[in-house]
Every structure is written in C-alpha cells, then in structure tokens.
Amino acid sequence: MPDCARQLGELGFLPGEEIVILRRTMPGSDPLVVRIGVSTFALRKAEAACIDLTADHA
C-alpha cells in the first residue's frame, strides 16, 4: 500500500507522537484499536504495519 503511510500521516500518525494499543478484540488482533494523541482509530494489521514504533514503558 503505497498511499498508506501518507494517509496515516494525514490522520495524525506522525513522528514523535505517542501511540497506545488499546484493544485486540478480534482474533489475530485484526483490526486493532489504537490511540494516537487523543484520537482513537481502528486500523487493519496491514495498515498498522506501516507504523514504526519504539516501546516506551514509562
């Protein structure tokens, strides 16, 4: 998905933002529920794969 990263950016998935994975309701965690900033989004696994994360245990 070439547009994926770009579209995620438009929604607010941008470098330096904090992401919380809230929920894995569905078997296989697809789609996921994540929080970016104060917005909550449902993302399919393939979309979520476009996002680079570093763990923050604080």
């Binding site: 904090e18 929920r23 309701t25 569905m26 789609p31 900033g37 104060v38 917005s39 989004f41 449902a42």
Partner: protein
C-alpha cells in the same frame, strides 16, 4: 445541440464550514441555519450538498455551506475530494467561498490545527471556531483564545454547538468587516506534500507547547465504555441485541402509521372512483397514481424509524464501532465494516441503502455494496412472504418450540444474507481489485449523547430525499407498468380477463413458457410484470389476474384461492424467486442515479434474475421430489 450548464448563485456572501469528521461541524451548521437548509448533490457527483441561510445580528444575509468532513486537503474519498475542490475553487458550478470557518474540536487541537494551517495556506479569508469548548473545559483543557489567534494569525471564537445560543459569538463575528479581508500570505509555500505534513505538524506542536496545551487528556469515559462495547465477547453480543431491538421496533412501531397510509390511499382511491367517470382516465388515476404512490410511501414509517436509530447511533459514536466489530466478517468476503450501514438500511428498503453507500470511500467497495444491497430482505418482500407462508406453510410447532411459519421467514432472511455474502465472496475471489488489501483507517470518535434536534433535522432530510425519488422515478415506472397492464383493452366479446389481452398479459403468457420449468403458471407470470413497480404490488396484480374484485381485501381472499390452485413446490419456488429477483425497478433506477452510468444497474438486473431463476429452479425440483 449541446446543453451548456447555467448556474444561478443566490445573492449573499458564501461561508463554507470546514472541519475534521466528528468535530461537531454539522451541529454548528444546524445551529446556525436551523431548518432553513437545502439538501442537494454537488454537480456531477453523488455527494450531499447542504446549504443554509443565516441572517447575522447586523442584518447581513449569508449563505452557509456545510462541506463534507475531512482530515486533510489530500482527499481519500469522494466526499473529501469535494471539500478540496470547493475550497480551491475547482468544483464545477460552485463559487469559491468568500469566507472559510474552520470548525475545530477543542478537545483535539493537535489534529484539527493541521487542517487549519492547510486551509489558511489557500489564501481565503478564514476564521477558527473552537467547538466543544464546554467539553474541553470539563476535561481541564483551558485554551487561551487570544493567544491561539495570535499564533495562527486568524480570528478565533469559542462555540458550543449543542447549546442554544452557543453559536452567538460566531454570529456576532460575521458582522466584523475585518474577517472578510483576505489574509496576507507571508508563509512560505512548500510544494512537497509529505514535507508539508511534517512542517505543519511541527508548527502545531510548537503552538501547543507555547499555549501550554501540550499534554494529552484522552477521553476516559469513552475508554471505559469501550472496555465493554468492544470486548471480545460482550461487544459482538451487545451489537446483536441492539440490532434485534432495532428490528423489533421497526416492525412494531411502524404498524400503525403504515396501516394509516394504506387506509388513506384506499380511501382516496374509493372517493376518486366514485367521482370520476368509469373510463381509462379513472383507472390511470386510481390504479396508477394513487395506488402506485401509496404502495411505496407505505414504507416511509419503517425507513424513518430505522434511520432514526441509525442517526442516533451515528451521533452517539457507536456506529463506527459496530463497523469495527463487523470488519472481520465483512473482510472475509472482501468488504470493509463501512458497508454495514448501507446494508442495514437495505433491510427497510434498498433505495435509502443504496443512497447511503456514498459514505464508502473506496470505489470498488461502494460498487460491490450497491450490487448486493438488493439482496437484503426489504420490507416490501414481507407482504408477499406473508401471503405465501400463510397459504402454504402449516401453522404448527416443531420440536414443540419453534413456530414453523416464523422459521420459514427466518430462513428467507438468511437466504438473502448468505446470497449477498456469496456474491461478495465470488467478487473478492475472482476479480483483481477484490484481492487487494484495502485500508480501513476508521476513527472511533468519543461517545456523545445524541441530540434530538440533529436527529430530527437528519430525518426530515432523508424523508425528503426518499419522497423526491418516489415523486420522480418511481411514479414514472408505476405509470408505465399500469399502461402495460391496461392497454390494449379486451376486444368485444372476449371471454378472458382484460389484463390477459394487454401488453403485460401478452408478455406474461410468453414469459410463462420460460418460467414453466421453475413451476410458475401464467397467472404468476403476468402478475410479475406490474409487480416490477414494487414487490408487494404483485399481490394486487395476482388479485387482478384471479378476477377478485378490488373492493374486498385482496390478500385475505387470495390465500385460500392460491392454496387450492398452486402446488407446494410452486409456492416455495415463488418464495425463492422473491429472495433474489430484482422485482423493484425503483431500486435499479436508484443504482443508475448513484453509480452515474447504466453498466451497474444492467449488471444487477441480469445477475439477480439469473440467481433467482437458478434458486427457484433448484427449489422447485427438490420440492417436487417430496410433494
């Protein structure tokens, strides 16, 4: 000669409302314009265009345009494209706005301000409405209006769309001459869009830091509700219970108004037949216009009840969550959770369902949803099911528990749903576009209490849209089918019924040859032709073919008659036919309108008839082995 489009613009400056989805933009629009709204489509695209009027305290008349919600000025869907085109002055037949009001969710500045920066760069006069400012205060977010205005270089005003008078500050601001001045563009324009997001993002972060708003205050109430409503077990379970209650309400609450509409149509028909001379004109007015329109309007109560629930769920923020819960199921047949709402609407009537596909961003998903929407069991099928089931299925309990007749209805509903899933699966499996992975990226907005006012305005608009369709296309079709069933009249000394000599009768007799293998007699074949107007019209058409006088209750008199004359396999075959057959040309006409070409409606017509023929053939042959 080619027609050149001529556009009339009402006088008064044009104010466009722009904002992220779920920022309360439409609530602000409703607050500003009240019931003075006009709903139409943008030229050439099926995106809803809402315009309203506002008279400011200083007696200035403004036209307010509610643009579709968007996350950015790089469109993903048809809706978002319209917003971008209108703002850029590229939209056909639209004037570039004189002023843009960026409606901003005060609880989510981080995201909303990026759109503001994008809009500001377009060079139009622009101001910021900090909406939901009350909720922000409750959550401990204190925004320094003047500071924000200073940082952005734009006027900023606080609004509370859900409160009467919560838009007063905005109304007052419209009278200030300075807000109508184009901004002075000293910002550097970057052409590289990815870099643009990044720099905008950094600027927003800098502004938030400066105003001391750089802390995250998520909505913990929604979070708590989601713990239950999106729970792996309780989530899907509560969705099923909710859907069950909605359907229950749709059928039980609609009963009284539906009877009322039916009775008034019958009453009007009776009065008119008394006063008009007995000729073809009377038949046209009574059988064509009054009964034709009545047979469609009768579904309005159910549609409104269903839409009332859908609007309330949409306002409350639950609907995207339902779509999320269903995404895996829909994904397994190549659709996304977003197809859920149009398909749900189609259980009342496929026409509003097909109109609702506009919210699906992906063109392929939208097409597939329109393709399968007619397979959902709409309420027009129910009178036909009820007639056949009461005449042929014995009323008894099986396993001492299930009512057999009810069980058959249940099977018919599921036959439609499985048929639709099957078609979608085949399209996923055997088309190139079907195998691609498509994005979901759906926001789950915070839960909010739905506002009655917004639901009422929404319902009013949907009812108008539906009735306009009835008024136009459906009327023409009903009249055309009446014409086919009435002309030419019976010759002198004819022994058969008048309808047998009409065009419909001639076609019906020819059709009977084709339909004989699936067990239909010539009476059914003829009735199917006027029945193309709307499914339940087939009942009155059968009444005509069996020479029942129109004064008695056709459905009641018809039951015993057909149970004697038809075999059980024929009845079951007709039930199967009604699950799949496109016995509703209004639906086809709506698909034509919404898809913008003739290809899709023709495909729907052909594949549904083929499917119906196959299903009826199988049903008839299998049933014939038993009875």
């Amino acid at each position: 000669m080619r027609e050149a489009p001529v556009y009339f613009h009402a006088t008064g400056p044009l104010v466009a409302l722009v904002g992220n989805p779920n920022c309360g933009k439409t609530a602000i629009f409703n607050r500003l314009t009240g019931s003075r709204q006009k709903v139409a489509n943008y030229a050439g695209v099926t995106v809803e265009r809402k315009e309203g009027r506002l008279v400011t305290p200083g007696h200035k008349t403004l036209r307010i345009l509610d643009l579709p919600g968007t996350y950015s000025l790089y469109p993903r869907s048809l809706d978002e494209r319209v917003t971008c085109d209108v703002l850029a002055g590229r939209a056909v037949g639209e004037k570039q706005p004189d002023l843009v009001v960026c409606v901003v969710d005060a609880t989510n500045l981080r995201r909303s301000l990026r759109l503001v920066l994008g809009v500001q760069r377009l060079g139009l006069p622009c101001l910021v409405a900090l909406n939901m400012s009350d909720e922000a205060r409750v959550r401990g977010i204190h925004i320094d209006e003047a500071g924000l205005a200073n940082e952005l270089g734009l006027p900023v005003v606080s609004t509370v769309a859900i409160q009467a008078g919560g838009d007063q500050a905005l109304r007052d601001l419209f009278d200030q001459p300075y807000i109508w001045q184009p901004p002075d563009l000293s910002l550097e324009l970057l052409s590289e869009p990815i870099g643009q997001i990044q720099t905008d993002h950094e600027r927003v972060q800098a502004i938030l830091r400066k105003l001391n708003l750089d802390h995250l205050t998520p909505d913990f109430k929604s979070e708590k509700l989601d713990r239950f409503l999106l729970h792996p077990v309780w989530g899907p379970l509560s969705l099923v219970v909710l859907l069950f209650l909605i359907f229950q309400a749709m059928f039980s609450w609609a009963e009284v108004p539906m009877d009322l509409i039916k009775d008034s149509a019958d009453w009007l028909a009776r009065i008119l037949s008394e006063f008009l001379p007995d000729n073809w004109m009377r038949s046209l007015v009574v059988d064509g216009v009054v009964k034709g329109a009545g047979s469609v309007i009768v579904f309005l109560p159910q549609i409104l009840i269903l839409f009332g629930f859908i609007l309330a769920l949409e306002e409350s923020g639950y609907l995207p969550r339902a779509a999320y819960l269903l995404d895996r199921l829909m994904g397994s047949v190549g659709l996304s959770g977003r197809s859920f709402i149009p398909l749900l609407s189609s259980f009342a009537c496929a026409i509003p369902g097909i109109i609702a596909t506009r919210t699906i961003p992906n063109a392929r998903d939208r097409t597939v949803t329109m393709l399968i929407a007619p397979l959902m069991t709409c309420s027009a099928r129910l009178p036909v099911y009820a007639l056949l089931i009461s005449a042929f299925i014995p009323s008894r309990k099986i396993f001492g528990f299930f009512e057999l007749q009810g069980l058959v209805i249940f099977v018919l509903y599921f036959a439609g749903i499985f048929g639709a899933m099957g078609v979608a699966w085949v399209l996923k499996r055997f088309t190139a576009a079907g195998r691609q992975i498509r994005p979901l990226m759906m926001e789950l907005p915070p839960y909010r209490l739905p506002l009655l006012r917004n639901i009422v305005i929404g319902l009013w608009q949907r009812a108008g849209l539906f009735l306009r369709r009835v008024g136009g296309v459906i009327m023409i079709l009903t009249l055309a089918l009446w014409f086919l069933a009435s002309f030419p009249g019976a010759p002198e000394g004819a022994t058969g019924l008048p309808i047998e000599y009409s065009v419909a009768g001639i076609i019906g007799h020819a059709l009977a040859v084709v339909l004989a293998p699936i067990g239909f007699n010539w009476q059914i074949s003829i009735a199917l032709i006027p029945g193309l107007a709307a499914r339940e019209v087939a009942i009155s058409a059968l009444g005509t073919v069996y020479a029942l006088s129109s004064t008695e209750n056709v459905a009641e008199a018809l039951g015993p008659m057909i149970s004697q004359q038809w075999s059980i396999p024929t009845a079951l075959s007709l039930l199967a036919w009604y699950v799949f057959a496109p016995q509703c040309l209004s639906t086809i006409a709506t698909i034509r309108r919404e898809s913008g070409n003739w290809k899709l409606p023709v495909v729907v017509l052909v594949y549904l008839f083929a499917l119906a023929y196959f299903a009826s053939f199988a049903t008839y042959r299998i049933a014939s082995a038993f009875w």
